[in-house]
Symmetry: C2
Subunit: 212 residues, 2 copies
């Protein structure tokens, strides 16, 4: 029996499947070999109960006993503290994972998310130059960083789950053409059995809803 | 004597003064009453030594004894673990601060930063509708969240430092007009003596460089 429940949408359209953020948490749980339940919240009606767990009406959230946590970064840190397969136990190792986790979300995804949103929504005027430059500055630095080792903070960690998932979406949208080292990193991360299982499980979860 | 050194640029142009991210760290250090040194790295030449501490060639970074940490989120968590004025010591309290810290950076700033960049760079076609909608969705939710208490996670915490600083820049650019509760939150946060000192110290740091 497990105390951990991960909540995601009951259904999403085809486009975001395989990219909904519960994937990051499934991936971490699989890496750690922790058992967990998956629960659903309606995609179409996001009501008070949903907002009580996730105030931006997004997913996922995780409950662990009495604790309910939202934000994938916070959930990854919470799980990291429970498994050395996700984060080392020593202060210096923890600090390195923590800074790279924030870097994935606040330095790289802060630049990739607006670019991704506009790559999907295709504004008539194209993607503003300032945002293209913002992303390429970050990717150029990641290209250099990733040339010095397989993973960001020594052994594979929750920082790699976040960073690889952020870069994976950029790659899907054709944004990694000039960044072969970033591409290789995404390929390396997504070849891990825990990613493959997490991804298949998310796809199956949403596909099951189509048949209800 | 202190082991803590905060590094920021030696100089920046007028426009970003008062908004460079070392402010978030100064603010936390002042709230906690911790002593610290401030060091400078060249704004115009960002070299190997800079990249060794901050791989995106940004500021700030913090050294604490042998540890060197970048990303304001990671630094705020590191300091939070050292002072109950910044983060409670119990697991539930820590989890709440951590999720709201990530929310400030990955849910709200992820939406406000592209909007802010375009508000400054003023692309001819205006700010794409998808990004305007992204920010207003987040601000609407923050307006509801902030109506239920002075601070995000019970007592004032590092989560409020991050969130108030994120919203402060939106306000500076005229983006909080429809969000009076967010405005009041920024006013409440920036009236704190620790913010006032941190802000004055950053302004003085960059002004001193003008006279060299």
């Amino acid at each position: 029996m497990t105390n951990i429940t991960l909540t995601t949408y009951d259904w999403v359209p085809e486009l975001p499947r395989g990219y909904v953020r519960d994937l990051r948490i499934r991936w971490a749980l699989e890496e750690a070999g922790m058992s967990y339940n998956v629960a659903s919240t309606p995609f179409r009606q996001r009501e008070a109960e949903h907002l009580a767990h996730q105030p931006f009406a997004q997913v996922p959230w995780l409950t662990d006993g009495d604790l309910s946590i939202f934000e994938t970064g916070a959930i990854l840190l919470h799980l990291g503290a429970q498994s050395h397969r996700l984060m080392p136990g020593d202060p210096a190792g923890r600090a390195k994972v923590t800074e790279w986790l924030f870097a994935a979300l606040n330095s790289v995804e802060a630049a990739s998310l607006p670019w991704s949103i506009l790559s999907f929504s295709k504004p008539e005027a194209g993607i503003p130059e300032a945002l293209v430059g913002f992303l390429s500055a970050r990717l150029s630095r990641m290209e250099a960083v990733l040339s010095s080792g397989d993973w960001l903070a020594g052994p594979f960690s929750v920082a790699d789950i976040a960073m690889a998932d952020v870069l994976r979406l950029v790659g899907r949208l054709g944004g990694l053409g000039d960044y072969p080292t970033c591409q290789a990193y995404v390929a390396r991360a997504t070849a891990r059995p825990a990613f493959i299982k997490a991804h298949a499980d998310q796809m199956a979860h949403f596909a099951a809803a189509d048949h209800r």
